[in-house]
Symmetry: C2
Subunit: 359 residues, 2 copies
């Protein structure tokens, strides 16, 4: 097992990564203050891991809330089911919510914890690669709105994160690839050596080599924890974690949530961001091609969905959370291993990128 700490003063918390962690009650119990616990999961994960987690919590009063599976259910309506479950079982302010599942379960459970009785504790138990390397860490929680992704939410840090790599054995191939998109992102934004390591080891990662996956998760979490500790509420550098996401969120919203997986939309979005970085003269066109080849090897998309127009992108990108007083801010690459946030991209170059990818 490896332990990382997200350093946020009195809101600091550990991330435990390793194999077989779902057997170990000592990773959960110290982070549960009261006697009530609510496990929030989904229909896919419940049959696989719910009983396992419950067996660690025999000293607690446990309530289960099982949500439908998929990004298209990440909305206020379905969120209300968590509140229904908590109130029917009379959960009070000392309750602890446990998010058992992927990014959707984690985002919704965290947001429910942020809002229930104006804030209760929660724990992340991520079961997908994407949530283990990204969404379970950092305290961003929320739900989608029909007009924009993750538009309703809160910053609410978990008490701890327990990422058991064994759960990845039940993950569909498509979701494994989607998670690798975020792993590749960390290399691109802050760690050129890690990027090269991924290029070397991609086939092993796709074959689910446990040691390679553990290493990829650990290094990704290290990067995320460092960036989050520097800028918890995204007033600055944290935005680089959204490389590819402004384009990607537009794709997800346009296609209907769940049609493209989040990691797939981010993959295509990263190629678009790299393309725009090249048009700005910041990176070589060869680096864009290098990224495309890596994503293709990971079975990820490298262009926008057919049928999306440049105008549709522009309209949806205007509701991005990085827009400030009408000025679109984008995360671009100065080089492999170094991303920056900028609001100085000439609109003509953005237009060129959008047109290139929507022909």
């Amino acid at each position: 097992m490896q332990t990382l700490t997200v350093d946020l003063g009195e809101r600091s918390y550990p991330i435990y990564t390793g194999s077989g962690l779902l057997e170990r009650s000592e990773l959960l119990l110290p982070y549960i203050k009261g006697r009530q616990v609510a496990i929030v999961t989904n229909e896919t994960i419940a049959p696989l891991y719910l009983e396992k987690i419950k067996s660690l919590l025999t000293s607690k009063e446990v309530t289960e809330v099982i949500l439908p599976d998929g990004e298209n259910f990440k909305n206020l309506d379905i969120l209300n089911r968590v509140f229904d479950g908590l109130l029917e079982a009379r959960h009070n302010r000392t309750t602890t919510l446990i998010a058992l599942g992927g990014g959707v379960v984690g985002d919704m459970t965290g947001f429910a914890a942020a809002c229930y009785q104006r804030g209760v504790d929660f724990i992340q138990v991520p079961t997908t690669l994407l949530s283990q390397v990204d969404s379970s860490v950092g305290g961003k929680t929320g739900v989608n709105h029909a007009l924009g992704k993750n538009m309703i939410g809160a910053f609410h840090q978990p008490n701890c994160v327990v990422a058991d790599t064994l759960t990845l054995n039940t993950l569909p191939d498509r979701e494994l690839s989607a998670g690798l998109a975020e792993v590749i992102k960390y290399g691109l934004i802050r760690d050129a050596a890690f990027y090269a390591w991924i290029e070397t080891n991609l086939e092993g990662l796709l074959a689910r080599d446990p040691a390679l996956l553990a290493e990829a998760i650990h290094r990704s979490c290290e990067c995320k924890a460092a960036v989050v500790a520097e800028d918890e509420k995204e007033s600055g550098v944290r935005a680089i974690l959204n490389l590819g996401h402004t384009f990607g969120h537009a794709i997800e919203t346009a296609m209907g949530y769940g049609e493209w997986l989040h990691g797939e939309a981010v993959a295509a979005g990263m190629v678009m961001a790299a393309d725009l970085s090249a048009r700005c003269g910041w990176i070589d066109a060869a680096e864009v091609e290098r990224l495309k080849q890596l994503l293709i090897r990971a079975n990820l998309p490298v262009k926008a969905p057919e049928g999306m127009s440049a105008d549709q992108f522009k309209s949806l990108m205007q509701v991005d959370k990085k827009v400030i007083d009408g000025r679109l801010r984008l995360v671009l690459m100065q080089k492999v291993g170094w991303a920056v946030v900028t609001d100085e991209v000439p609109s003509g170059l953005l237009q060129e990128t959008l047109e290139y990818f929507t022909v």
Copy 2:
């Protein structure tokens, strides 16, 4: 005009109270950072004051969101209309929401501001006595759930509060009385001299004497600001602001939101809390009678609604936010002018109070 400051470090903010403040743009504009503003109000208040506020904001891009009027609309479904309005007009993270209305508009707008893009600024412009003395101050925001009042929410402090006493001229008598219930509460919990002042001046307050109302609002806000500054997130003393509310919330939930006004339920709840305080031997029975007489003069209820049972109270009170690990905590009176939070009320005495009021 009088100015009070709620002292919360970097989240400190002013409360302006006085007559004619809705004419004064200098009370709003310094608290609006970006160029986008969304005024959230309801169908009753919009025809009265919306244009007036808009005329102060000609330098801004203003979006209006008009909600239906009433506590029964304070839920997640109606909250989503605020997000609809914000997203349709492409509001970004630098937007400022203005809550123009009573407690329901203030609670919902504040919660929308807490959640929109994980948190934007907001300003309270309360137009009812209840919201001017209580709900607009202190940063408690939220919505109701069918199973419990204010169960979904956040602590989110406004940038400023502008309470124009002229708006009380359009307030229905019943709502004026409901607001007086919270004014009386401040005397009961922390200020015996203010309580006696209210007894002396009640008829003048009911007749809307401007100087008396201004004094009542100012002293109420002084009390609330001091308690909130001491305990922003209600880990201790802040709970005394909920004198009568545990019983009152049970009444509101049992009757259906909006049937009894919040202040009416709090009035009956305060009598029940006083009765229980007397049964505990903390105050004289004569003080309970004194409170009842004052509330009756203010045209407020002093007993539970017909048809509610002791069991119904007990069940609904178990979801109160002051319950900790199954132990009900209540706000009771040690004397007039001094309330405390206690979890040591013998359940037999609580039972006696509930039975006495539900015969």
